[in-house]
């Protein structure tokens, strides 16, 4: 008998050491939170290349912060742009700030392409040449020559037809921006407006980065507002920061609220500080260990994981409650032996349910599963290893609240031998099933948009001013080499041009627009040679040009006609900077590029794009938003399957112990789940993945409730314990239903309805004959 407490002490010390070590390690790594819905979703179902392409698209958006400064006084504005860019560039989180363009750079962009003017030509000119309309090209050159606005002013010898001028004139810049005295000025705005573009060095979801970057902007903003300068911003960083702020604000309010509620009720129940502290110890250890290990396993912890985890407080407090309630009746030595089967089964059923989530190829669910399994196990271990040492002494006074609750329960009807009640339950079940049958689901990821309205408005106004409209849709082009990709792009863009001409597509960005395939460059070069042969002599004759100039022009053509802009050369050029990220992959054997679509894409255009993709095996149309929404739907279905499998396992184990009585444990949570779903469908117009994930929690707590009650033969103390744990979970989640973050709201409402129903249904299913009374 002596060795047991000793080994218990060793185990308790070991456990303490482990908790401290894990916490220290996690703290050293530093907390990092994530609030993006996207990061909850699976990657593995998509081909790695598609995923990489999607990541590239996302990164372009996520690592960019655009600021527009507008005001009345030009000079002040320019000063503000300079100052703001200075303070932003000084931050370690900023890899570069694009806010000015030196004249030498403008010149450089031009000259680096000049040598390739016969191979890389304007699309409009190419169309004319292809149509054999050489006459018109000559006409255009002539007009250009006589125009008072002789832009570019190319040499009559090196570029008599102004091919290079046409090319540079028609190359659109990405934004509606002009260079004004080296600064980037937005054109066509009411007030003078300047642009700054910040490229972040790291992930915009890092709270530290958000704080520093937005802090620097806000510090300037305070001064600028006083002098009438307005700052508008657009970028993932803002959404990430707003999302994190909103969610963490809500979670901390709700967490604090639930903690307060729990403390108050526990105090009212036990009226003893030591009991209160003893109860909180496992919960705190569970939460800390779960957070620490999740942080260590996953790089970032998602806020939804924390929300889900916050609910675990309610589950993990169960173990301590049972221990302490039992402690009221037995001496400390005997408690563990007595409640161990119930505790083990409770842990087993919950861990099974949560572990099943980890099997799904779903990063978000894995994180939640890890958090839950670790948290519950840690709380459980703390109860088993520490509480016997911490809560010593003999049995204590019975609790008044247990008697109150017991009397309340006595008022509940029995389902057994009560056809009216059974009938009523059956009718509500059938009605619920009918409702679910005719319901539709809400899998559209856009419904989960959490950004504040004014942020979205600001984003839209920035996009409008800059003339950009981002879209998450793109084509992925695959080939054996970059050259092949470019050729395939050219085939695709010809068809996209058709859609554009029909007004169905706003635009697109393709690498082949700035870097034509070598095959196309050779074609262009041949066309230009034809143009020279046919049109150069009459053209120059019209201008009274001497013969030696004519031969000079031919010489210039012969010298540079063979030059090709190869990908290698292009990649070295400065002009490639903003286009490089269209290359998804480039290796010796394979290459992939993406063609980005811009503007909003309607359903009709979508059909055309899908048809395009179907007819061209090398070009795949990818709509990330749609894909993710579809994935949400498919995982909604899969989660149901996983939960069913997990509960079949739990049922098997429970069946061994409880035999025919198992319905008393299983029916309340199952019935509650079905009715909850039906209510949710009615209240929220449909259910999604996140409702279902919350339902898992309801099932877990419901099963625990049934197991504990069964184990103690419906003892009043157990009823008190499970009621308290339901109450704590309801506090934690009932408040979440008020959240503005859709995911948290879905979660909260589900648990609120579900747990209330479980708590009401469980006593109804209790055993009529074996009921124990408090003093019996």
């Amino acid at each position: 008998m002596n060795s047991r407490p000793l080994s218990l002490k060793t185990a308790a010390a070991g456990w303490l050491l482990f908790v401290v070590a894990v916490t220290v390690l996690a703290l050293r790594q530093g907390p990092s939170f994530d609030s993006s819905i996207m990061s909850l979703l699976p990657e593995s179902t998509q081909q790695p290349l598609v995923q990489r392409a999607a990541d590239l698209m996302a990164e372009r958006f996520s690592k960019r912060l655009i600021l527009l400064l507008s005001g009345v006084e030009e000079l002040r504005l320019r000063g503000a742009v300079t100052r703001l860019s200075g303070s932003l560039a000084a931050l370690p989180d900023v890899s570069r700030v694009i806010w000015r363009l030196e004249e030498s750079e403008v010149e450089q962009y031009r000259t680096e392409l000049y040598s390739y003017r016969y191979a890389v030509i304007d699309e409009g000119i190419r169309a004319l040449l292809l149509a054999g309309d050489f006459q018109q090209v000559q006409q255009r050159a002539l007009f250009q020559l006589y125009s008072p606005l002789s832009v570019g002013g190319g040499s009559i010898v090196e570029d008599p037809f102004g091919l290079f001028t046409e090319l540079t004139l028609n190359r659109r810049s990405e934004f509606n921006v002009q260079v004004s005295d080296s600064l980037l000025k937005v054109s066509g705005t009411e007030q003078p407006t300047y642009m700054l573009m910040v490229e972040l060095a790291a992930d915009p979801f890092s709270p530290a980065l958000q704080k520093r970057v937005l802090g620097a902007v806000e510090a300037e903003q305070a001064v600028l507002t006083d002098v009438g300068i307005k700052v508008d911003m657009s970028g993932m960083l803002l959404h990430a920061a707003a999302g994190a702020q909103q969610a963490s604000g809500e979670i901390s309010t709700i967490g604090l609220g639930s903690l307060l509620g729990i403390v108050v009720v526990m105090w009212l129940t036990f009226r003893q500080l030591s009991s209160l502290l003893l109860m909180l110890v496992p919960v705190v250890v569970g939460s800390i260990t779960a957070a620490a290990i999740t942080l260590l396993v996953f790089e970032r912890v998602h806020l939804v994981t924390f929300a889900f985890g916050a609910g675990l407080v309610g589950v993990s407090i169960d173990y301590a409650l049972h221990y302490l309630c039992e402690h009221r009746r037995s001496s400390s030595d005997g408690i563990l032996v007595k409640i161990m089967p119930g505790l083990l089964l409770g842990l087993f059923s919950s861990v099974m349910a949560y572990a099943a989530l980890a099997l799904a190829p779903f990063p978000g669910l894995r994180q939640m599963a890890t958090f839950s399994v670790v948290g519950l196990s840690a709380a459980w271990l703390t109860v088993v290893l520490w509480l016997p040492l911490l809560a010593r002494g003999g049995p204590q006074q019975p609790l008044a609240l247990a008697a109150h609750l017991d009397r309340l329960r006595a008022g509940f009807p029995f389902a057994e031998g009560n056809p009216l009640l059974v009938g009523g339950l059956l009718v509500s079940l059938l009605f619920s099933v009918y409702t679910l049958w005719s319901s539709k689901s809400l899998d559209d990821i856009r419904l989960l948009q959490t950004s504040p309205v004014d942020l979205l408005k600001q984003e839209q106004s920035v996009q409008r001013a800059l003339g950009v409209s981002s879209s998450s849709q793109f084509f992925l082009i695959r080939g054996d080499s970059l050259e092949q990709c470019l050729q395939r792009e050219e085939r695709l863009t010809a068809r996209l041009e058709g859609l554009k001409a029909a007004g169905m597509l706003e635009g697109y960005q393709a690498l082949s627009q700035v870097l034509p395939s070598l095959r196309r460059q050779a074609e262009n070069s041949a066309l230009v040679q034809q143009l020279y042969e046919q049109q150069l002599p009459p053209y120059l004759a019209m201008l009274n040009v001497s013969d030696h100039l004519l031969s000079d022009a031919y010489l210039s053509l012969a010298r540079t006609e063979g030059r090709r802009l190869t990908p290698e050369i292009w990649l070295q050029q400065r002009g490639s900077d903003s286009w490089k990220d269209l290359i998804v992959e480039q290796s010796e054997w394979s290459a992939a590029t993406l063609v980005r679509l811009t503007g909003t894409i309607g359903p009709e255009t979508r059909q055309h794009l899908i048809a395009l993709s179907d007819s061209d095996s090398a070009a795949v149309y990818i709509d990330q938003v749609q894909n993710i929404s579809e994935l949400m739907g498919s995982y909604r279905g899969q989660i149901v399957n996983w939960v069913v499998v997990a509960y079949l396992c739990v049922m098997l184990v429970l069946g061994v112990r409880y035999k025919k009585q198992i319905w008393r444990i299983l029916l309340p949570p199952l019935l509650a789940s079905v009715v909850t779903l039906a209510l949710l469908v009615t209240l929220e117009q449909g259910v999604n993945l996140f409702h279902l994930m919350a339902l898992i929690l309801v099932l877990g707590i419901g099963l625990d409730m049934g197991i504990f009650l069964m184990e103690t033969r419906q003892a009043p103390y157990t009823w008190l314990a499970v009621s308290l744990s339901s109450y704590t979970s309801l506090l934690a989640f009932g408040l979440l239903a008020l959240s503005d973050t859709p995911v948290l709201h879905h979660f909260g409402l589900t648990v609120l309805i579900g747990l209330t129903l479980v708590w009401l249904l469980t006593p109804i299913m209790r055993n009529k004959t074996k009921e124990k009374t408090l003093h019996g």
């Binding site: 004249e103 403008v106 018109q136 040499s155 009559i156 004139l169 659109r172 005295d181 054109s187």
Partner: protein
């Protein structure tokens, strides 16, 4: 004696009026900026590579702040319609090509300057150029040197001559080319 003194004063005054910083404000006062103007132009474009000038003539008309129609009649027929947003090239009423100025910074700057020069929008020009010049009575000559780097890419110097209206413009381009435009038979 009095005559000599008078001429002395005159001699002292003359260079003074020429030196005393010729300002955009002064130009603003002597010139008018009619809401509508049309007239005839002669354009002489000197191309350094050819060491020759291409001369063209035609008519133009403008609506202040809205559009400039620039119609070349000789030796080729061509019509340019410039608005702050775009430059449209037309021939025989048919649109040949259209350039959105917003999409191209160089075109944008250039058309803005052209607009400002033709419509005597001195406030706009002061944002791009340093001004020097002389004013004698109602006759003035001005020289604009770009302060803006983007403008310097295209234009190195602009010479202007006029009275209440602009009579002559010479745009010196980067690379030695220059465009001289003279206006006559102006009517509002």
């Amino acid at each position: 004696m009095i005559r000599r003194l008078f001429s002395l004063i005159l001699m002292l005054l003359l260079p003074l009026s020429a030196c005393a910083g010729f300002t955009y404000d002064q130009l603003e006062k002597v010139t008018v900026s009619p809401a509508h103007l049309d007239g005839h132009f002669t354009q002489e474009k000197y191309l350094s590579a050819l060491d020759a000038s291409l001369v063209s003539t035609g008519v133009f008309s403008y609506q202040r702040g809205r559009s400039i129609r620039w119609e070349t009649l000789e030796p080729i027929k061509n019509e340019l319609l410039m608005t702050p947003e775009s430059i449209i090239n037309r021939q025989g009423g048919q649109e040949l090509l259209q350039l959105e100025t917003a999409s191209n910074p160089v075109v944008k700057v250039l058309s803005e300057i052209f607009f400002a020069v033709l419509t005597a929008d001195w406030a706009k020009l002061s944002g791009y150029f340093d001004l020097s010049g002389t004013l004698e009575g109602s006759q003035w000559t001005a020289e604009l040197v770009p302060t803006d780097s983007a403008v310097r890419q295209v234009v190195t110097r602009v010479e202007l001559k006029g009275d209440s209206l602009l009579r002559e413009v010479v745009l010196h381009e980067n690379g030695g080319n220059r465009t001289a435009i003279r206006f006559d038979s102006l009517s509002r």
